[in-house]
Every structure is written in structure tokens, then in C-alpha cells.
């Protein structure tokens, strides 16, 4: 139970950090922000790695494999597409 409480502490503090980080973002960046944050939620990839790479039977490993595929699509696709969007954001000075 100790571990659960400890994890809840971390969860709560991280959630507050998340709130504070986003409050001040201008609407210009909402789309890239959503897509970037979305890529971060692909962190569950680490869970897939632990399950697919450990000895827990073939069924578990195959589930892990699918989890890795899904999460990697989320991570790679998410970060790349966000970068593609942000690459285009330029100031006027850079234009000339």
C-alpha cells in the first residue's frame, strides 16, 4: 500500500505541474501543443518494452509487441508531425 500512496503523491504533483505549464499558452500554439502532448502520452511505450522483453509467456510477449507497435506509432508520428508544424512557424525577419 505504501507504494500506491507514494505513486499517488507523484501523480498529484505532476498533474499540478501540467496545469501550470499550460495555462499561459497562446491559442496560436494549441494545435501543436495538443499534438506534442499527445506524443508524450506515448510514454506507455516503456510499459510495452517491459512486457515484450521479459519472460512472461508468449501470449504476454505478443500483447507487448502490439502495445509497442501502437505506442511507437503514437510517439514517432506525434513528435514528427509536431515538428513539421512548428518548422513552419517563422518570424517576419527570418523571411527576408
Amino acid at each position: 500500500m505504501d507504494e500506491l500512496i507514494f505513486n499517488l503523491f507523484i501523480f498529484t504533483l505532476a498533474a499540478f505541474t501540467g496545469f501550470e505549464l499550460i495555462v499561459k499558452v497562446p491559442p496560436t500554439l494549441h494545435t501543436p501543443l495538443m499534438s506534442g502532448a499527445n506524443a508524450i502520452s506515448g510514454i506507455t511505450l516503456l510499459g510495452g518494452l517491459l512486457i515484450a522483453g521479459s519472460v512472461g509467456g508468449t501470449t504476454a510477449q505478443i500483447i507487448g509487441l502490439v502495445a509497442i507497435i501502437f505506442a511507437t506509432i503514437n510517439v514517432v508520428g506525434g513528435f514528427m508531425v509536431t515538428d513539421r508544424m512548428l518548422e513552419m512557424f517563422k518570424k517576419k525577419e527570418d523571411d527576408q
Partner: protein, 474 residues
């Protein structure tokens, strides 16, 4: 991978992994922080990506991980698919793309929990891990199916209209309660596998049921909310595995997504409850005409006339809407702006928060056409400027410039923040026809004294305007 390391390093590896996780957490936080300003956003995204890479690499050194066939295969397949989508998707389809990536993320979290459930013998599992496995499966599955329904609605595979039946909200509420009860049941009787399967199946079903009653125009809000869910699902998977990095990153995204959802709702003057349970648009055709539609007339204009008005203006404000993006007219617009600037006209863009298909989407579309971001103004910044504007060009936008939102309490959009374009000396609306916008509402602006209508496809009209402006010089 840890067996390849020298013994001294092997023994401290668990600590090194945790330290690396701490660094990755920092990279995520700074990354999100830097995503908050246009000048630093790109580096912010790259910081977050490097945090992810660091997290993945050090995890491979976990002692538990002994085989790599599945890992390599999975990362390769997923990486290629993700890369393909990220490179190919047009900017106009960004909402669909975020929806689909999000669905995969949520699905992955549910699978991680399922994998953990399969891997461990249920009798040995603690109540804690059973609760978190149950919640992870629940939230992850809802995100998975919900995101794909949202994707289908945006793409038009599924009708964008709300699909409703009597008692739907009660049904969904009951289903949600049933699911939490099943999570409870799972913790007391983990060996009864059927409970797990019913939980899994019904969670997938709930994802479908929650999204189908929501109209296509509200999908961005739904995607943002589902984005928040996928973060929470990842966090729950972190509880299952006792992995701090998962817990923290998931919570960050969960909270960030919630705030964004709230901002979007405000921009549309809706509450989240209204979006989720209101089935907006179903009785949509409530036309808020004042009954005197018959004798209202509009003034039509042509490219040459628009060119002259703009060329002799001091300040021109452009109000782009999604119609601009549909017509792929961003580049033609940029050309018009360039020609006007050469003539010494100040050109600014006024962007309503919901101008595109999701908040900030219009900014991305204009950025794609090389419009510098310091010419783009948010609603609060641009609204005081309309008074001093000579000409306002409204291109493919409708509801966001409808004065009825301020003046007519019987209008369905009454109270929605809008751009005060009617305060300008002259407004020119580029539009295909007099058809009402998505909310199905007539726009009083069209009939105002100082308004002119330029009918036609946005791209063709703007190209004609480019021609007319060039002719002025000859």
C-alpha cells in the same frame, strides 16, 4: 541488455535508470514549457522527443528485459507507420491525425495492462495492482475506440451528425457505473477471468457510445479530452508497473489536455457537459432569422473593386475561416497580402480561437503558407483594432463574425465570443453563397450597410484579386 555491462555498472544500473528517468521528466517539463511560445516551440518539442528517447534507451537496460526480438520488431513496424503518417498527412487533416495517434496511445496503455495481467499469476497480484490494471484497461480502451470514432466522424466515414437514442445519457452513465463495479469485482476475484474480458469489451463499447452522440463540429473538444484520457491511461499503466516516468508524464499530459479542453470549450461558449451530453446540432436547423429575411438585401462586389478598396487602405485585417483551408487558398491569400504590403498597406490577421478545425489549426495552416506568426493576432488582441481598420476581408468564416452572438439572445450562438468586424469601415465577405454556417444560423453581417459580398470559391476569388491588384500597377 544489462548483462552486457561490466559487473560494477550492473549493480548500480537500477539507480542509473531512475536518474535517467528523472532527467527525462525534466526534459518533458521544459519541453512542454517551451511549447508555450512560438519562438521556442520547436526546440520544446525536440526536448520532449529527446526525453522520450532517453527513457526508451535506459529502459532497455532493465534487468527484466531479456529478449529483444519482439521489441525490435515492434519499434520498427510502429516507427515506419508513424513516420509515414507524419510525413504524408496534409496540414488540413491535422485533427484526424491527432485523433488517430491518440487512439493508438490509449490502446497501447490498455494492452500494457492486459499484458501485465496475463504475465502475472492473478492469485499473486495485490489489490493495488489489480485496481490499476482495471483502470488502465478501462481508460485506455475508451480512448482507443473513442478516438477512432472521432477520426471516422472527421473523415466522414461515420456521419458527423450526432447519433442519438432516447435515454442515451442514462445508458452511458449506467455503463460507466457498471464498469467501475467490474473493476471492483476484478480486485476481489481476479481468478475469475471472465470479469476481465467483460470489463475490456464493455470499455471498448463505452468509448463508442460516448463519442457517437457528439456532432462533428465538436470533435476537436472530444479529441482534446481523449488526449487527456490517454495521458491518464499511461499514468495508470505506470501505477501498474510502478514506473515513475510513466506516472509523471501521463499525469502531465492528462492535466494539460484537460486545460486545453476547457480553453476550447470557452472559445465556443459551451460547457464541457454541454458538448458531451448536449448532442449539439441535432435539432441544428433552428434558424434564428428575424422573420424579415425576405426584404434583406446584400451588396455584391467584384475583384477589381476589392483591389481598389484594399490598395488605397491604410490597414487591412484578414479574418480567415476554415472555408479558406478547404479551398486551399492560403497561398493565394499570402500573395494578396504581399502585394498589399508592397503598396504600404498594413496587413494583419485576426484569428478566432476556433477558426480552423481545432484551436490553433488556422495558425498552422497560415504558417504553412509562410505567413509570419507575428502578423497573426488572437481575438482579444485584434478586436480593439477593427475600429481603425479600413477594410476587413472575411474569407471562409461565418459564425465567428456573426454580430447576432452579441445582440440577439434568441440566437443559438448568443454569448459566443466573436470578432467585432462590423466596427470596421468596410467589410468584404468572401463566400460561396449565402448558405448558413455549421450552426445553421443566418448572419446579420451580410446585410449590413458597410458590408459587401464577394461570391465564389475562395481560392479563385483571391487569385482574381491578385490579378486585379497587379493590374492596378500597369
Amino acid at each position: 541488455m544489462s548483462e552486457f555491462l561490466p559487473p560494477a555498472l550492473q549493480s548500480i544500473m537500477p539507480n542509473l535508470i531512475q536518474i535517467a528517468y528523472l532527467v527525462a521528466t525534466g526534459l518533458f517539463i521544459f519541453g512542454i514549457k517551451r511549447l508555450g511560445s512560438p519562438a521556442t516551440a520547436r526546440s520544446g518539442n525536440q526536448l520532449a522527443a529527446s526525453g522520450m528517447l532517453l527513457g526508451v534507451i535506459v529502459t532497455l537496460f532493465e534487468r527484466e528485459i531479456v529478449s529483444f526480438e519482439y521489441i525490435i520488431a515492434g519499434v520498427l513496424i510502429g516507427g515506419i507507420i508513424g513516420l509515414f503518417f507524419a510525413k504524408k498527412v496534409p496540414m488540413t487533416s491535422m485533427p484526424e491525425m491527432v485523433a488517430i495517434f491518440n487512439g493508438f496511445g490509449g490502446g497501447a496503455s490498455a494492452l500494457v495492462a492486459w499484458g501485465e495481467f496475463t504475465r502475472l499469476s492473478p492469485a499473486l497480484m495485490t489489490t493495488d495492482s489489480l485496481v490499476t490494471i482495471g483502470l488502465s484497461v478501462l481508460i485506455g480502451s475508451v480512448t482507443f475506440t473513442g478516438s477512432f470514432i472521432a477520426f471516422g466522424k472527421l473523415q466522414g466515414f461515420i456521419s458527423g451528425n450526432p447519433i442519438t437514442f432516447p435515454g442515451q445519457n442514462y445508458f452511458n452513465l449506467l455503463l460507466t457505473f457498471a464498469l467501475f463495479a467490474l473493476v471492483g469485482w476484478l480486485t476481489v476475484d481476479p481468478e475469475f477471468q471472465m470479469v476481465f474480458w467483460i470489463l475490456f469489451g464493455l470499455s471498448l463499447f463505452l468509448g463508442i457510445m460516448t463519442v457517437i452522440p457528439i456532432g462533428g463540429a465538436d470533435m476537436p473538444v472530444v479529441i482534446s479530452l481523449l488526449n487527456s484520457y490517454s495521458g491518464i491511461a499511461a499514468s495508470m499503466a505506470g501505477f501498474v508497473l510502478n514506473n515513475n516516468l510513466l506516472i509523471i508524464s501521463g499525469a502531465l499530459v492528462g492535466a494539460a489536455g484537460l486545460i486545453l479542453t476547457n480553453i476550447m470549450c470557452k472559445a465556443m461558449n459551451r460547457t464541457l457537459g454541454n458538448v458531451l451530453f448536449g448532442a449539439f446540432g441535432s435539432e441544428g436547423a433552428v434558424l434564428a432569422t428575424d422573420g424579415d429575411a425576405g426584404d434583406k438585401t446584400v451588396r455584391e462586389t467584384m475583384a477589381d473593386d476589392v483591389a481598389i478598396q484594399c490598395a488605397y487602405a491604410k490597414k487591412v485585417i484578414v479574418v480567415p475561416g476554415y472555408g479558406l483551408a478547404v479551398a486551399q487558398a492560403q497561398h493565394a491569400l499570402k500573395e494578396v497580402a504581399n502585394l498589399l504590403e508592397e503598396k504600404g498597406v498594413t496587413v494583419k490577421y485576426g484569428i478566432h480561437p476556433v477558426a480552423g478545425r481545432m484551436p490553433g489549426h488556422m495558425n498552422v495552416l497560415l504558417a504553412e503558407a509562410d505567413v509570419p506568426y507575428d502578423q497573426l493576432y488572437d481575438m482579444e488582441q485584434i478586436n480593439p483594432e477593427f475600429k481603425s481598420a479600413d477594410v476587413v476581408l472575411i474569407i471562409g468564416a461565418n459564425d465567428v463574425v456573426n454580430p447576432a452572438a452579441k445582440t440577439n439572445p434568441s440566437s443559438p450562438i448568443y454569448g459566443m465570443p466573436v470578432l467585432n468586424v462590423e466596427e470596421a469601415n468596410r467589410t468584404i465577405v468572401f463566400k460561396r453563397s449565402l448558405n448558413p454556417g455549421f450552426a445553421g444560423i443566418d448572419n446579420e453581417l451580410f446585410y449590413m450597410e458597410n458590408n459587401q459580398m464577394f461570391f465564389g470559391d475562395a481560392k479563385k476569388s483571391l487569385q482574381a484579386l491578385v490579378g486585379a491588384l497587379q493590374d492596378l500597377d500597369d
